[in-house]
């Protein structure tokens, strides 16, 4: 387990980016780049991360970044890697694809599935703020049940897509979930991914103050609640072996979990949900943990 002293002081993002106050994505990106270090090339689709990277002629990171159209994150990573292989530099440089949930679970899923199937040696990070935030909070395939967005004013009627599981089904060597509110765990997962050959997928919950409707100072609290209520368990699947991450282990015991309503009530996006949906959530979380338990037992 890493501690805070293990995280390099070197910053790869310059101060003063255009990310919103309290943006978890900025924090995730900062930690990820610290874990991967300077020999990294990043590819980014249209997303909030494009906004962080700023306007024409300037780069807000100390690491080169290529901006690519929305559906092409994983394909562009394949292209960068193929060129590095062509030049004999593939072992020296890490290729990092960094996309939002819309760019990953919706428009980018085909290219990602293709890159995973081709055993592409890259890290794909999805920062999941659970809607199209950059275009003004429209629902995505990763928006949870009951959430109000500008295209689901009545609240979304179905659960979010389980993207890590879809990637697991590709048989890739590394799949992990993470959460902006657990930066050490996040750092460790990127570090681990860097040393594994083949496709690595890290899906990171990324609380979003304007999109989720909470005070920007509470990003860490909201992120923690997602874990403490059992809504977003942290785990890794390394070569098919499932492992619950330390920060989530205690929630195997359902009595340790906080009520899901603590999480739902803390955010304006859930304001239209009724008792029935809250109950559905309890069942959803129970099922999630039943599956985790059975996976741990069947090892």
């Amino acid at each position: 387990m890493v501690n805070v002293m293990d995280i390099p002081e070197e910053e790869y993002i310059f101060p003063g980016t255009r990310a919103c106050a309290g943006c978890a994505m900025a924090l995730i990106y900062r930690i990820a780049l610290k874990a991967l270090g300077p020999n990294t090339i990043v590819t980014v689709p249209a997303s909030c991360l494009t906004v962080l990277h700023g306007m024409q002629g300037f780069c807000t990171t100390k690491i080169s970044v290529y901006h690519t159209p929305f559906a092409t994150t994983a394909a562009s990573a394949s292209g960068i890697l193929a060129s590095l292989e062509d030049k004999g530099l593939a072992d020296e440089i890490t290729v990092l694809a960094f996309a939002g949930d819309g760019g990953t679970v919706d428009i980018g899923i085909q290219a990602l599935s293709g890159a995973a199937e081709r055993d592409t040696n890259f890290i794909y990070a999805c920062y999941d703020n659970e809607a199209y935030m950059n275009t003004g909070v429209q629902r995505s395939g990763s928006t949870p049940l009951g959430v109000q967005t500008t295209t689901t004013p009545e609240g979304k009627s179905v659960h979010k897509k389980n993207m890590p599981k879809i990637l697991e089904a590709h048989g890739i060597p590394y799949v992990a979930t993470a959460n902006a509110a657990y930066p050490l765990d996040l750092y460790e997962k990127f570090k681990r991914a860097k040393d594994i050959k083949g496709p690595k997928y890290i899906h990171i919950l990324s609380p979003c103050p304007p999109g989720w409707g909470y005070n920007p100072k509470d990003t860490m609290l909201i992120g923690r609640l997602a874990n403490e209520t059992g809504f977003w368990p942290l785990y890794e699947v390394l070569d098919g072996k499932f492992e619950l991450s330390n920060s989530s282990k205690r929630y195997l015991d359902s009595s340790k979990r906080k009520p899901i309503t603590d999480y739902l009530k803390a955010q304006k996006r859930f304001k239209s949900i009724d008792e029935k949906i809250a109950k559905t959530y309890e069942k959803y979380i129970d099922n999630t943990w039943k599956e985790i338990k059975s996976r741990l037992e069947s090892r």
Binding site: P38, N39, I41, T43, T50, V51, H53, G54, M55, Q56, G57, F58, C59, T60, T61, K62, I63, S64, V65, Y66, H67, T68, P69, A71, T72, A74, A75, S76, A77, S78, G79, I80, A82, S83, L84, E85, D86, K87, L89, I93, Q110, A111, S113, G114, E117, R118
Partner: protein, 430 residues
Amino acid sequence: MTLTEKEESAINDNIMILTGNHAAAHAFRQAKVGVVSAYPITPQSPVVEKIAEFIAEGKLKARFVKVESEHSAMAVLCAASVTGSRVGTATSAHGLELMYEMLPWASGNRLPIVLNLATRSLGAPWSVWTDHQDFITIRDVGWIQLFCENNQEIYDTNLQAFKIAEDSRILLPVACAYDGYVLSHTAMPVKLEIQELIDKFLPPLNHHINLSDISTVKGIDPVTTPQVVKRDEGVAPGYYEYRYALQKALENSINIIKEVHDDFAKKFGRSYGNGIYKAIQTDDADTIIFGMGSVASQSRVAIEKLRAEGLKVGLMSLKLFRPYPAEELREFFKDKENIIVFDRDIGYGYEGTLSYELKAALYGLKSRPNIKGFIVGLGGRDVKTEHIITGIYKALDEFKKGIFTNKTDFLGLRLEELEDYDEETYFKGG
């Protein structure tokens, strides 16, 4: 068996019997592409099958990214090109349309990508046969577009395409088109040049972006604004300036395309007109046929017959479609009387694209030639010599009568075989 002298010299000259698709693949091999990415589509597929074979046999040291769609293929190539590799692909029709979003990305980034297009008509309804509609649809994305008439020309044009694309004065993607099946699947002799000579003609790519050099940090394609941005660190152009530079690069590329063609002709002894168009029997001609690819090839036969009938007919086969060589065409056509354009495409809702573009290009002439356009051969309908001849006589007759219209005129239609054809009700659905 003894070889005749001619056969022996053919072998010494490294002449192979190749389909158009395989001619393109051999050009990629000898251009030493670093990254290829493609998705299968008829009639292009043999290009990339052959490339896969070259790689498997160790004849080409390229990375072949076998993607799940053409959209990804062009995305892979854009990223690989940005990282500094020489890259290329091949596609047709629907594949090209699926790539569409990435095509202006490639040109906007000024990436020297080469794409072979075995032309094919666009659905619906489905058709795998040739016409030039796919080629025409990419005219506004900022690519250089060349058309080939035979398999040797495909091989030669591909080698020139990399040189054109990578010229530091240009830096733009290039599409090399040839008719699906007519050339893609038809074998003919193609002379392959000696590798050392090709290496001299086409030195390794020194890319202007090259992300793989991580000693300098680059932010490629951030968001631009409508303004020029000035900060303490420097001044950055806006979108408008980037696009101006792209357009100027295209405008200026015409002379460089000719220059590359002439250099190739000098080194390898084969030329294709002036590199942007081929004029056949035009010196004494008052009537000129204007077309591309298979249409031009078929017209070569037609002019022989028409000349035997006493008409002074010549042919202008357009090789460079974008950038459009308007000035060169104006100069060429300034003293001609009649132009008859045969389009294997339509600017739907208007006329054949070659027809209306030529009309616009000649607008500045003091004395303008008569121009009439015909539509021919959509969806692989044969373009027969007699269709061309019928068109010529019909056009000349209309010119004499002073008829001028933008309404399309189709040759080779078989409406009379559809007994119940009624223009108002037919083919409205299903």
